[in-house]
């Protein structure tokens, strides 16, 4: 079986402008959502309490909300989690001393809901200080990944490749965040982990194309301009790109389908990241390399000319 066997190089670079226009529009939309709606940060970042309960029978979140509100927990958010019997209750940080007891308070109040018994399945409490640290550490991790990748690529290739790769992949990250903002999906620590994993993973894609670019530059002394080389590199790696991503995507989608509610957003972030990762590696990073004006000489060091002494 062989699905991709283009006879000629596909002229991706000729349409680079169009592809990038699509990219820019998506990117802007993502930024817009991020600015207008903001991320729905989980309590891990904001501090607060989360209680997951399973009811003995179907219970409307509204009933639970009113029960909690009547007892003074007006800011409690209650929503279904996976099934009609599973509920997720979120409380913002209540001030020192009170917060650590919040989950006990919720449990006591739930016991008052008539005719329904609740089994507590999960409690998470994060103090505001810890939340701030987790947020800072998350940003530090992001910075570390960006710098690390840029440094590595600059060393292995050239700085223009490094910059192109990171710009293309950060654009994926912004798009993932944009989707989370647009649909107000919860952005938790594990989603952050997924985002960083995707960043490392889609840089692969770029690296593989760049590897090929360098190889072609080295091998073919014939006149082949940069866009042609890029087209050739992308076409040659096309099959691998599709097969690999199809495999990874298959894995991620099974996590999305079978991994349960806890892993849902994590798998979703990976799915979006992988899909956009292909797009941005092929169209965005390669086009950037072209526009940065990379030439053969930048990658292939000219052999040192031997200076022969004249006797």
């Amino acid at each position: 079986m062989e699905w991709f066997r283009p006879r000629q190089d596909i002229p991706f670079m000729r349409h680079a402008l169009w592809f990038n226009a699509v990219s820019i529009v998506t990117f802007m939309a993502a930024v817009l959502f991020l600015v207008l709606r903001g991320l729905n940060l989980s309590i891990e970042f904001t501090g607060g309490t989360l209680v997951e309960v399973r009811a003995s029978q179907t219970v409307s979140p509204e009933v639970v909300r009113t029960t909690l509100a009547q007892a003074g927990l007006r800011e409690a958010q209650v929503q279904n989690f996976g099934s009609a019997r599973d509920l997720l209750i979120r409380l913002p940080h209540l001030g020192d001393g009170e917060s650590a007891q919040a989950s006990e308070r919720v449990q006591a109040l739930l016991a008052q809901v008539p005719e329904v018994d609740f089994e507590v399945r999960r409690v998470e409490f994060v103090g505001p200080q810890v939340g701030k640290e987790l947020a800072t550490n998350g940003l530090m991790a992001l910075a570390f990944v960006i710098l690390g990748i840029v440094a590595y690529l600059a060393m292995r290739f050239e700085w223009r490749f490094a910059v192109s790769a990171i710009v293309a992949n950060l654009h994926d990250v912004v798009i993932i965040l944009g989707v989370f903002a647009a649909f107000q999906l919860e952005f938790s620590l594990s989603v952050l982990a997924a985002v960083l994993a995707v960043l490392g993973y889609s840089v692969n894609e770029t690296v593989i194309i760049f590897d090929r670019v360098r190889e072609v530059f080295r091998k073919r002394r014939a006149k082949m301009d940069t866009p042609a080389v890029l087209d050739h590199a992308i076409t040659a790696t096309m099959s691998r790109t599709i097969i690999t991503h199809a495999s990874t995507l298959a894995m991620v989608v099974t996590i999305l389908l079978f991994g349960g509610e806890t892993l849902r957003n994590f798998a979703l972030a990976l799915t979006i990241g992988i899909v956009f990762g292909i797009y941005s590696s092929i169209f965005v990073s390669s086009a950037l390399v072209m526009w940065f004006g990379v030439r053969r000489e930048d990658l292939v060091k000219p052999p040192k000319q031997k200076e022969e002494a004249v006797v």
Binding site: R121, I149, S247, G259, T262, L263
Partner: protein, 612 residues
């Protein structure tokens, strides 16, 4: 061409064999067990004697067990099913702890790995599951370091007052304000005298004298080193205290660890009653020193139910009754340190106590008046008093250094010192993070994670085999080897496996196939260019290697960042992710190549390379 030397094949086979051995324990599941540990650190505990005592009781009740496991500090009994386990626990509990208010041992339900003996002897253990997979409570506690420092400064201020009194230096008041101790004096000479006394007696303080109108103000603060010591000591003591308290909860494998400079992580697998756990963690215990009533006949009277007025009937740790006076000589607040050591003259194991100066004075007076009598040191928790030790006072003890010795082993001395230190928390703590996962959710999480991974694997396998045929099959075998090696590594390192960790395992498998896809595509490309099959295999692997390396390095950078900056669930993800990348380098390149070599290597001509 395309043949590995024998040593390389053997090496790969050896690594795979090791992987299989260390991954194997994960297949055997867990066996329900009852775990018995001493209620107090240092109490006499003989697992063999205990087993001999329990054996007939269990068989009498018709509860068949599957063997005893002996540890110096624990006895574990395995059972066939959870029902027998629970019945046995109740039986053992009533047998060993006749008085529930005064437990002698902690009896806890536990799950032991069902690893066969020969595997266990090789050090093979199943993966260590995180709390989100097995259920339990995780607390992050923050020690109030400012509290610890000010508490110490208050004690120092009190010491200063009594020091000034005994040295006859007149002052106009000594008090603590913030992190400073201020003393006011009427004139310069007395302030200077005070400074000399402080420098001589309290090396932890830095003293400044500031003239203030008529009067003179003396300001003392802690040296940075001293403050650091107080912080470290506070953290260490709080951890010790937590150890002792958690011991009581009967948790099978508690984790109590320092995290950073002022935080403590407490993980209690299997604990459901969070409220009780919080109560026990936050409780305070106190230490008291009282005199023993050794009036002849008084103890017998008390045992007969007629307790003499002003006394209390208590028990020593070995169960011996003792009659103690109700008047408290000293409380634990006067104790600044307790360390195990040896008696300077006899060389016997001993515990050295250090009292603050007010405590020292009281102690000197009391010991002078009671030479030849016994003095009891009590630990009071939840209103329950227990006599830790009751030594005879031999001479007057001054200077605040007290030694408890006589009839104790080195280990007992260490435990008593620990108990005395751990009696109360050095500084208040508060919970800054809590995660509780119910056992049903934990089980569901495992099932879901495993289902997702297996289905994902099947989908990839079917796809890759149908696309690349025989070579594709080898790629899938390499992927399976990768999964096995990853599980083996995680089991060997005993890294905590969390739900995000399982997700990382699935994701890593999805990414690891990339290496084989790269290789296979490269081989096809070479074939298309008209290269002979043998040559195509060789160059395919060779050329793909640089690319695989590059792409794995970038993924590894992201993984490392998560490992360094991540916490909790994210770290679980990162560990698996990083290890998975490393193991995939081995399996994707070497294992698949070995298989391809076995099939095609050495043949003169290959009519058809089965690569789709």
């Amino acid at each position: 061409m395309n043949r590995y030397p024998l040593w390389k094949n053997l090496l790969i086979a050896f690594v795979l064999l090791l992987g299989a051995i260390y991954a194997a324990p994960n297949l055997f599941g867990e066996i329900p067990a009852v775990q018995i540990t001493p209620a107090r650190a240092g109490a006499p505990f003989d697992p063999y004697a205990l087993a001999a005592r329990l054996e007939p009781k269990l068989s009498e009740a018709g509860l068949a067990h599957q063997g005893f496991l002996y540890d110096p500090g624990a006895l574990r009994i395995r059972f066939a099913d959870t029902e027998t386990q629970i019945q046995a626990k109740d039986l053992i509990e009533s047998e060993l702890n006749p008085d529930p208010a005064k437990p002698e041992v902690i009896v806890a339900l536990n799950l032991l790995p069902g690893t066969p003996e020969w595997l266990a002897r090789l050090g093979a253990k199943p993966m260590y599951l995180g709390l989100d997979l097995r259920g339990g409570v995780h607390f992050l506690l923050e020690v109030d370091m400012e509290g610890a420092v000010t508490k110490r400064l208050d004690a120092i201020a009190a010491d200063l007052r009594s020091l000034m009194r005994s040295e006859r230096v007149r002052h106009q008041g000594i008090s603590r304000s913030g992190k400073l101790i201020e003393a006011r004096f009427a004139d310069e000479p007395s302030a200077e005298a005070a400074r000399r006394i402080i420098t001589r007696n309290m090396p932890d303080l830095v003293v400044d004298i500031l003239p203030q109108g008529e009067a003179v103000r003396l300001v003392a603060r802690l040296t940075p080193a001293a403050e650091q010591t107080i912080r470290e000591y506070a953290l260490k003591q709080n951890i010790t205290t937590l150890h002792n308290r958690i011991n009581e909860l009967g948790v099978a494998e508690p984790v109590i660890q320092q995290q950073g400079a002022e935080r403590i992580v407490v993980q209690l697998p299997g604990v459901q009653d969070v409220a009780k756990a919080k109560d026990i963690l936050g409780r305070t215990a106190t230490l008291e020193v009282r005199l023993v009533d050794d009036t002849p006949g008084a103890l017998e009277e008390a045992l007969a139910g007629r307790i003499p007025p002003g006394t209390e009937l208590l028990y020593e740790r070995n169960g011996r009754p003792i009659l103690v006076k109700k008047d408290v000589v000293l409380t634990g607040e006067r104790l600044t340190d307790a360390q195990p050591g040896f008696d300077g003259q006899t060389g016997e194991p001993a515990v050295h106590l250090t009292l603050d100066s007010a405590g020292s004075r009281i102690f000197r007076d009391v010991t002078r008046e009671n030479v030849g009598k016994r003095m009891a040191i009590l630990l009071i928790e939840r209103g329950q008093a227990e006599v830790v030790t009751a030594p005879v006072i031999r001479t007057e003890i001054s200077g605040g250094r007290v030694q408890i010795s006589g009839a104790m082993t080195v280990e007992e001395a260490r435990d008593i010192a620990l108990l005395l230190r751990a009696g109360s928390l050095a500084a208040p703590m508060r919970i800054v993070e809590e995660r509780t996962v119910g056992p049903s959710l934990g089980k569901e999480n495992i099932e879901r994670g495993v289902t997702a991974t297996l289905w994902g694997f099947v989908v990839i396998a079917v796809f890759i085999i149908s696309y690349y045929q025989l070579i594709g099959f080898y790629s899938v075998v390499a992927l399976a080897a990768n999964l096995m090696l990853l599980v083996a590594l995680l089991s060997l390192l005993q890294a905590t496996l969390t739900l995000p960790g399982i997700a990382a395992m699935a994701l890593t498998l999805g990414m690891a196939i990339d290496a084989n896809v790269l290789i296979n595509e490269r081989i096809r490309e070479e074939l298309r260019a008209g290269v002979s099959p043998q040559m195509a295999i060789a160059t395919g692997y060779e050329r793909a290697f640089a690319t695989i390396l590059d792409s794995n390095v970038t993924t590894l950078i992201a993984g490392l960042a998560l490992l360094v900056f991540g916490s909790g669930p994210v770290r679980g993800f990162a560990v698996v992710h990083c290890l998975g990348i490393l193991s995939s380098m081995f399996s994707a390149i070497l294992v698949s190549r070995m298989l391809v070599n076995f099939t095609y290597g050495g043949k003169k001509r290959i009519a058809h390379l089965s690569i789709g």
